[in-house]
């Protein structure tokens, strides 16, 4: 057996399927995308090479920058609203115990189980200014109830609420699993030392959850950048481009405006931004990881 695994041909043949898949399903399309990004191409007929024109145009394209701003807003919303809430909920759930724990865990996760299409239409009706639930609630409390939730100024916030609400259960479940993995002995020791709930959460739960937070934050930022289907179904980027997101804009340009070359240029810039974001996030977390380790080492040397 050992001999078999040290045979280079065998190793090669085992790695080959994975490599081929990577090459044909990921690398080759990206390379083609880069190529088409330099062309003027409607998606049919022949492509004409135009150099950096698409990229130059992209730099001054208001709709594209609007989509970047919206992705940024969404990422901030995820990190500053969704995740703290998800973590606190997970910590409370963990303390709840018994049947309640399972029940609420299920309830909070339900939005994630429902199809995006259903969610989008559900919220479309909730937000409808004429017969929607939200305006009717406002009316019931004596308000005028004629707010246009999808007006140019409100739309992005309405969309963010849906996205934050929809992804909440997923984040919470990961935090919940993380908390469950913390050794209960630590909590016992803290209790003996007289630590209250707040101190326990800040000094034990939070530091030990760091790897989970890292994974969750990275995933949140990436999903904010990649956001497409909910926005497509909810507002399709409108009114105007006020709720535009990069993936949706790419789709509109490539497949509706027949600007396939330009769509690919957006795709390439989009990939670069995603890669940079991931690298930067990893760097930030790496430094944080290193700092205490270095400090310890210094202490040891002294």
């Amino acid at each position: 057996m050992k001999k078999l695994y040290s045979n280079k041909l065998v190793i090669f043949s085992l790695v080959l399927p994975g490599l081929l898949l990577f090459f044909f399903a990921i690398l080759a399309p990206i390379c083609l995308s880069v190529y088409y990004g330099f062309t003027e191409y409607s998606g049919m007929g022949t492509a004409t090479f135009i150099g950096m024109e698409n990229y130059k145009k992209l730099m001054t394209d208001k709709a594209f920058w609007m989509s970047m701003r919206n992705s940024l807003l969404l990422a901030i919303g995820f990190i500053c609203i969704q995740h703290p809430l998800a973590m606190i909920t997970a910590a409370i759930l963990d303390k709840l115990g018994g049947r309640g724990e399972g029940f609420f865990r299920c309830v909070y996760f339900i939005p994630n189980v429902i199809s995006v299409a259903v969610i989008a239409y559900l919220w479309k009706f909730i937000y409808n200014p004429d017969f929607g639930l939200l305006n009717n609630i406002i009316k019931a409390f004596g308000g005028k109830g004629d707010i246009n939730w999808f007006s140019t100024d409100n739309a992005i916030w309405s969309v963010l609420i849906v996205l934050i609400w929809h992804g909440f259960g997923w984040g919470m479940l990961i935090y919940y699993t993380g908390i469950k993995n913390i050794d209960p002995v630590l909590y016992e020791a803290a209790a003996i030392d007289g630590a209250d709930q707040k101190t326990t959460f800040l000094k034990i739960t939070l530091p030990l959850m760091k790897p989970v937070i890292q994974v969750n934050v990275t995933m949140a930022v990436i999903s904010a950048l990649k956001q497409m289907e909910t926005v497509y179904l909810l507002t399709n980027g409108g009114p105007g481009n006020s709720t535009q997101f990069a993936a949706n804009y790419l789709y509109q340009q490539a497949f509706k405006a027949f600007k396939y070359g330009y769509g690919n240029a957006i795709g390439v810039v989009f990939i670069i931004i995603c890669l940079i974001t991931t690298v930067v996030l990893n760097k930030i977390f790496e430094e944080r990881d290193d700092r205490p380790a270095k400090a310890k080492r210094r202490k040891g040397a002294a």
């Binding site: 409607s42 998606g43 049919m44 007929g45 709709a63 479309k124 409808n128 200014p129 004429d130 017969f131 004629d146 246009n148 939730w149 999808f150 007006s151 140019t152 739309a155 507002t235 399709n236 980027g237 409108g238 009114p239 105007g240 481009n241 006020s242 509109q252 340009q253 497949f255 509706k256 405006a257 027949f258 600007k259």
Partner: protein, 429 residues
């Protein structure tokens, strides 16, 4: 033995993948022909989709050696897949739109077969209806409908409240105020999709420019300069109407179904849409007291505009074509021609209330037509001139995408009229 089994398996897989990959028609022995029809009408039980399916069924019955396979997707998905097909082989008969926004790129790619114009001399096509499907004097497709834009209104609601059908645009805006005072939405508008508002803008523009409409539009699109005073005035009128509360609250984000439901549930007094919705009068899902009271009027005249009351916004949009590299082109053209025999598309369409075809339909009047249908027929018969293609479909598809998005912003006031005209001009370049 084992090796043989593996080899056989591999061969089968290869054959399968080759077949799946080409997507082309398989011509079987003894004259068995399979025709692939790619359609933008996914609802095969109602309206236009039903009509298409009825003709397909008739054709297969009359030609037992022909099997017709239909693939139907809704418009947006259809256009996306159409593009994919254009690269790897089109189905034999396809739905198309005789408008530059769609057809220009398609014809440049050379995926549609040229049709013989002489074949259609006796088909009763309304004059001018083939123009959108021609390029350099060659014909590439045939139109299915004549579409007319209009204001559907609830006649009973109008009578009960003493409202009159407006004859001028100012009257329309005054009427909107009166309707609003009764807590009813004056006009349900599908603003979320962009194109109905673009049609509305074209309708206003036609009333302003009259017979100059197509010159104004084509000049603006070819130069990218939309500063023409009529274009500006039309856009200002659209914005004024939105500001005056003619449309429902949040019209700029509501889709087709939501807007239409406002009207068919009696929450809106009017609904702006094309004549293809004339089948509302026959749709039993709509409450009877509303269904039987739906009537229509066309865009009222505008003070100072050149267009008269009988100059209407009408055009020939959707249609069919045959793929250039179809392996059974002869059969495909035969089927296409069969569809357009006057007693097929025109007759069936009329009987099912899907609106007017692009052919002479007078022979199929049964006397049982709904009043709504007759109002459209009268509008077309009495028309002194028709607008032709709405502005959003007159330019390249980048222009279409741009105007359909920017029109939401200009109507709700988030960009100025000048910025709007500059932005859509930019998309033409």
């Amino acid at each position: 033995m084992k090796r043989k089994v593996v080899a056989a398996g591999m061969a089968a897989m290869m054959a399968f993948s080759v077949m799946a990959g080409t997507g082309a028609t398989i011509v079987k022995a003894d004259d068995e022909v399979t025709l692939k029809v790619f359609s933008n009408l996914p609802d095969r039980k109602n309206g236009q989709g039903l009509v298409e399916q009825m003709i397909i069924d008739d054709y297969m019955e009359e030609n037992p050696n022909v099997t017709i396979e239909v693939e139907a997707l809704d418009e947006e998905a259809y256009k996306t897949k159409f593009k994919a097909y254009s690269m790897e082989g089109m189905p034999d008969v396809v739905s198309i739109w005789g408008q530059p926004a769609f057809l220009d790129e398609v014809l440049d790619a050379g995926v549609l077969a040229e049709l013989n114009q002489d074949d259609y001399k006796d088909y009763g096509f309304i004059s001018g209806s083939l123009d959108g499907f021609m390029k350099d004097g060659k014909l590439y497709g045939l139109p299915r409908n004549t579409d007319v834009a209009g204001f559907y209104y609830n006649q009973k609601m109008f009578e009960d409240n003493g409202w009159e059908v407006p004859t001028t645009y100012d009257e329309l805006l005054t009427l909107a105020g009166e309707i609003k005072d009764k807590d009813i939405v004056p006009l349900a508008m599908d603003g979320g999709d962009g194109w109905p508002m673009a049609v509305y803008l074209s309708d206003i523009l036609f009333k302003l420019t009259g017979s100059d409409y197509s010159d104004v539009v084509s000049n603006a699109i070819s130069t990218g300069d939309f500063s023409d005073e009529n274009l500006k005035k039309a856009t200002e009128l659209l914005k004024e109407s939105a500001d005056a509360g003619l449309f429902q609250n949040g019209y700029d984000s509501q889709d087709y179904g939501t807007a239409m439901n406002l009207f068919t549930n009696g929450q809106a007094a009017m609904f702006y849409m094309g004549s293809w919705e004339a089948s509302m009068a026959l749709n039993e899902d709509i409450p009877e007291e509303i269904r039987t009271n739906i009537r229509v009027f066309t865009m009222p005249v505008i003070d100072g505009g050149k267009g008269t009351a009988t100059d209407i916004a009408a055009w020939n949009g959707g249609g069919y074509a045959v793929s250039a590299d179809s392996e059974v082109k002869e059969e495909a053209v035969k089927f296409l021609n069969y569809m357009y025999q006057p007693d097929k598309l025109s007759k069936y369409g009329w009987e099912n209330g899907v609106g007017m075809s692009a052919q002479d339909q007078s022979a199929y009047m049964t006397g049982d037509e709904t009043e709504l249908q007759m109002q459209f027929v009268d509008a077309v018969n009495n028309a002194t001139s028709v607008s032709g293609t709405p502005i959003n479909d007159c330019g390249p598809s980048a222009f279409k995408t741009s105007i359909e998005s920017e029109i939401q912003s200009v109507s709700n006031g988030s960009i100025s009229v000048d910025d709007f005209l500059a932005a859509i001009g930019e998309a033409c370049k």
